[in-house]
Amino acid sequence: MLQVTINGQLHHFDNPLSLQQLLEHMSIQNKRIAVERNGEIVPRSQFTLQTLSDGDQLEIVVAVGGG
């Protein structure tokens, strides 16, 4: 059992998963996003290599309209 906070919301996962698998689970793997894991930016090339740990804090951001 894995507990991960994504954009401030708690999420539970039964099995270990990589960041890439998480993004696929959320159907946003092909979107233009940027990910911060525990305060550190995760380069896109690292998505498949980083396995999520219990208690991870993730921030996933996108571009939105703004001035």
């Binding site: 946003i28 979107k31 940027a34 571009a63 309209g65 703004g66 001035g67």
Partner: protein, 263 residues
């Protein structure tokens, strides 16, 4: 050619626009096309988890291949938050380094916190960001931001989203005269004449969002702003006539005026 040059890149348009507050992406795209802007600001926000993943994204509508995207730090109240946001933006935009830094001081006025702005600018410049910086119209702060290595100074004309126009042309003029890097009015433009006045003062460009997005007809206003910025720039380059106080000068010749007929 009278290009606008910032961070070594040439642009034919001196109007920079934001992408916020539009009804929908169609209106955003149409207004930005009508404005002729080549540099457009975007904000960085948490993705909405659970939303339909097929929903179009802003960058699908305004692709980075067509526009120079200028990620901003709107909503940041400390240097730390602003730096964090722009690092994420750089990752999001594949290493893109041209950014708009703004560190706000107060949610009511959205007035810049210049102390935090300077702190953030110092770190961002060291991290090789090209920083266009929103600031107050304080000429001393503007000079300091230039010395830190920012690529453009963007003083407010009046409060963000207020549409109050250029409240202190004198300060703007001092900033324009005392800095070597581009100066752009950012915030406060309400209508076309405000943009023209900024350009006539000698600003290198104008950045606006609400003046277009909150107009009754945003697309027509975008077109008006494009013309106003162009007209103001031409007037500045043409060099306006000297002002004459308290005496008129007729435009038609004084010679050959018909004599007054005797009654």
């Amino acid at each position: 050619m009278d290009d606008f040059i910032v961070a070594g890149k040439h642009y034919s348009s001196r109007l920079l626009v934001g992408t916020g507050k539009y009804k929908n992406f169609n209106e955003t795209r149409a207004a930005i096309e009508a404005s002729g802007a080549q540099i457009i600001t975007i904000a960085i926000r948490r993705t909405n988890i659970g939303q339909n993943p097929n929903e179009p994204n802003l960058l699908d509508v305004l692709p980075p291949s067509h526009y120079t995207l200028l990620p901003n730090t709107a909503g940041c109240y400390s240097a730390e938050e602003a730096i964090r946001t722009l690092r994420l933006a750089r990752e999001l935009l594949d290493g893109h380094s041209l950014v708009k830094l703004e560190v706000l001081g107060d949610p009511r006025t959205l007035f810049p916190n210049v102390v935090e702005t300077i702190k953030a600018a110092e770190i961002l410049v060291k991290e090789n960001f090209q920083v266009m910086v929103y600031t107050s119209d304080d000429p001393i702060i503007a000079k300091q931001l230039e010395e830190i290595g920012c690529v453009a100074i963007m003083p407010l004309a009046s409060l963000i989203g207020s549409g109050m126009g250029i409240l202190n042309p004198w300060n703007l003029q001092i900033i324009i005269d005392s800095t070597q890097i581009p100066v752009l009015v950012d915030a406060g433009v309400g209508t076309a004449s405000d943009a023209a006045i900024a350009m006539e003062l000698g600003c290198d460009g104008v950045l606006m969002n609400t003046a277009i997005a909150a107009a009754q007809n945003p697309i027509m206003m975008a077109s008006a702003m494009r013309k106003a910025v162009e007209a103001g720039r031409e007037a500045y380059l043409a060099g306006r006539m000297a002002k004459k106080t308290y005496s008129a000068s007729p435009s038609s010749p004084n010679e050959g005026i018909l004599p007054v007929q005797p009654k």
